[in-house]
């Protein structure tokens, strides 16, 4: 008998956000169509556009097992896969998405690589190769490597160097980092060419990049618009909208969609229409959302007037590359590498200013609090996702120490949805409102702008 807890969706505040769900469905169905038609499919980690853009230019369809894990969890269908992975010896402390995928793959293998009938959302087809990523955490290459137990499918690990803040500013280091990434991307292209038996279509890649940067530019502008008070869009909108810019910014449909998003948000800003009608508090959220229970944010908004003006650094597009820097780059691989590297390092100056590390998952929030006039951080530690949790306590310390911005901590998990206790989160939020009031006063006394 299934647990009573149903998926609690958010109504969202933007019309475009409500439509964005189609993009998510598109990812899974295209992958299956491609597999059915005998076209190559790759399972990829979110790689901040480093390798997937290139794979797409070679005509590959991408499947995202991390995304599939979230999907299975939301459908309450992850548990059998988790058990199946653990039953083969994978520790239960590993990434929930990894266990979901490993269990799924084990089942797939036992079914002779025919997608089982009961696979949630129609399942993921057997890939031609696995595209792992060296950024964010170890699971994201070790997990793909461990799939070799069930399928003889090559793994390509994208080298994505992680520079320390101080090291970022050392002369020549940025150039060395990007050179390294470019060399690896060239090797990746060779790998793909050999695997697919055809040459890279560089024109196709250029065209994709053109669309890609345009889409991202719009997404960035939308982020800037959200600085307005009241906030024209909130976290629940973003988490829907992000699908096209994160997974398929090179798709003309994504570009067209984003133009509409921009228009909608601009309209709201111009007319001072807030996403939350009675916006009283502005919060930020870190890091990965409780996908299954996003409706709870609608409740916070209604009950307390809380608007989440910014969230989830890792899903956002970076600022556009400075034009003069971009102009000098003629090699598309160098352009991609530079941009992806930029995503991880653009807040290094903020980190340096505050004499802290790291950039990733942490420094950006030190800028968000100011730019978005933030009253509090909603920290969401996840039991089975370490990269999204490692720096939350540290971030909490920093926000309090440097900006007198308090945090509320509400635990959850990416696959064990029972960990997130809704009632408890409401109790915590209610108490936290007072805390935010208190620190507003303190900030006022200490001369902060907000």
């Amino acid at each position: 008998m299934e647990d009573k807890k149903k998926k609690k969706s958010s109504a969202k505040t933007l019309q475009t956000a409500r439509e964005a769900g189609n993009f998510g469905k598109k990812i899974l169905s295209s992958a299956r169509e491609a597999a059915d038609a005998g076209r190559p499919v790759v399972w990829a980690m979110v790689d901040w556009w480093l390798g997937t853009t290139i794979a797409k230019a070679m005509g590959m369809e991408i499947c995202y097992p991390e995304n599939y894990g979230a999907f299975c969890a939301a459908m309450r269908k992850a548990e059998p896969y988790l058990d199946y992975a653990e039953g083969d010896g994978i520790p239960n402390t590993t990434c929930g998405y990894a266990r979901n995928c490993i269990g799924y793959t084990r089942k797939l293998k036992e079914n002779n690589f025919v997608i089982p009938e009961d696979a949630p959302g129609g399942g993921m087809p057997k890939p031609l190769f696995l595209l792992a990523c060296g950024a964010a955490c170890d699971a994201r290459y070790k997990w793909f490597q461990s799939l070799g137990r069930y399928m003889d499918v090559p793994v390509w690990t994208l080298e994505f160097p992680q520079t320390g803040v101080m090291e970022y500013f050392m002369p020549g280091n940025k150039k060395d980092n990007i050179n390294f990434m470019v060399q690896e991307l060239r090797a990746f292209v060779s790998f793909l060419e050999k695997l697919l038996g055809k040459k890279m279509n560089w024109d196709n890649l250029e065209a994709k990049l053109d669309t890609f940067f345009k889409t991202h530019r719009l997404a960035y502008e939308v982020d800037l618009l959200r600085k307005a008070v009241p906030s024209p869009a909130v976290n629940t909108d973003f988490w829907a909208l992000m699908i096209p810019h994160l997974y398929m910014p090179d798709d003309p449909e994504a570009l067209e969609f984003y133009q509409r998003v921009y228009d909608e948000v601009k309209y709201k800003v111009d007319n001072k229409i807030g996403a939350v009608p009675n916006e009283k508090y502005r919060m930020i959220f870190s890091e990965l959302p409780p996908w299954h229970t996003l409706g709870v944010f609608d409740e916070y908004a209604e009950k307390y007037g809380v608007a989440f003006a910014m969230e989830s650094w890792n899903y956002h597009v970076p600022s556009p590359l400075p034009e003069d820097e971009k102009e000098k780059i003629h090699d598309p691989l160098e352009l991609i590498a530079t941009y992806s590297y930029h995503k991880f390092n653009e807040y290094a100056p903020v980190a340096l200013e505050h004499r802290m590390e790291p950039s990733l998952f942490t420094a950006p929030y030190l800028k968000y609090v100011k730019d978005y006039r933030i009253d509090g951080l909603f920290a969401h530690p996840l039991i089975s996702c370490r990269p999204a949790t490692y720096t939350l306590m540290h971030l909490r310390n920093l926000l309090m120490e440097k900006f007198k911005v308090p945090s509320v901590i509400v635990e959850g998990d990416i696959v064990d949805l029972r960990v997130f206790n809704e009632e408890e989160s409401h109790a915590k939020m209610e108490a936290f409102i007072e805390t935010m009031d208190h620190y507003r006063e303190i900030r006022k006394k200490e001369g902060f702008e907000w």
Binding site: M1, D3, D83, D88
Partner: protein
């Protein structure tokens, strides 16, 4: 020759006295908080029942949680090995032993009469008999009866919380929602069976499967576990003594390996007393 095995579990202490061929008697007593002082009491009681003197026992092997604190034992062997030996003696075709104790649970893979692999859960109460004890308590029922009551259920309630403490809360919630006690119990037994199954799957469950420990006496748990396994399992007539039995068998083997003179020397030096870890005055 006579041999004894003593299994000091965290909740129950068991003694088996055997000769070369068969079990003479066995004793089962709750361990209580002071297991160090109890081992020799249970031993004494068993000897009295059998009408034997301590000196007549040729070799004693201790096992279980408290095995290190049995000064009168000639050797101590892990409960994994002892359970395996005890079960193999009773069921020569066993491949998988599932032991469900009060405070821990184990899976043991047996190949050619030896431990090939094993897995233990001694950290999380939700995968042990303790889970049922907590629930029985909450419902005001006796541990011995809940298994049978659960069998009366036609539709097990879904119990979602993995933690024993939270399951307690959920039980109360279900009761207030009008769920029947048999249905709730069935749901809990099923949840426990699922967890045990998940653990033992890691060593690959193969026939013949033997279930031992206090949990084996619970008909509801047996039913749900067998359902998960997919085929029937067997249970020894007295599922609590397999560890002590195995210890007594090992005692026999070790005695056979010892040189005659050494054995006699050992026996004379050994006295039946409690471990003196702590001052009695404290």
């Amino acid at each position: 020759m006579l041999f004894a095995g003593i299994d000091i579990g965290s909740t129950i202490t068991k003694v088996v006295i055997r000769d070369e061929r068969s079990i003479i008697l066995y004793t089962i007593r709750p361990t209580g908080a002071e297991h160090r002082r109890l081992a020799h009491e249970v031993m004494k009681e068993s000897l009295e029942k059998a009408g034997l003197d301590f000196e007549q026992i040729d070799f004693i092997v201790a096992t279980g949680y408290g095995r290190i604190n049995v000064p009168f034992a000639d050797a101590q062997v892990s409960e994994i090995t002892c359970h395996m030996r005890g079960v193999s003696w009773l069921f020569p075709n066993v491949r998988t032993v599932i032991d469900i104790g009060g405070q821990d649970s184990k899976g043991i893979k047996v190949v050619d009469g030896k431990v090939r692999n094993f897995i233990m859960n001694d950290k999380c109460a939700a995968g042990t008999g303790r889970f049922l004890e907590i629930i029985a308590d909450t419902l005001g029922l006796k541990l011995e009866e809940i298994g049978d009551i659960s069998l009366r259920s036609r539709e097990p309630a879904g119990i979602s919380k993995t933690c024993a403490i939270f399951a307690e809360q959920e039980v109360l919630l279900r009761l207030s929602e009008g769920a029947s006690v048999p249905d709730i119990l069935a749901g809990l037994h099923k949840a426990l069976a699922d967890r045990i199954f998940a653990m033992v799957s890691k060593i690959r469950i193969e026939r013949d499967v033997v279930i031992t420990g206090g949990g084996a006496k619970n008909a509801g748990l047996r039913k749900w576990l067998e359902e998960r396994i997919g085929f029937p399992a067997v249970m020894p007539p007295e599922p609590l003594i397999t560890g002590a039995l195995g210890a007594s068998i090992l005692a026999q083997e070790m005695a056979a390996k010892s040189v005659e003179g050494d054995l006699a020397l050992k026996k004379r030096a050994r006295t039946m007393e409690a471990a003196t870890f702590f001052d009695d005055d404290q």
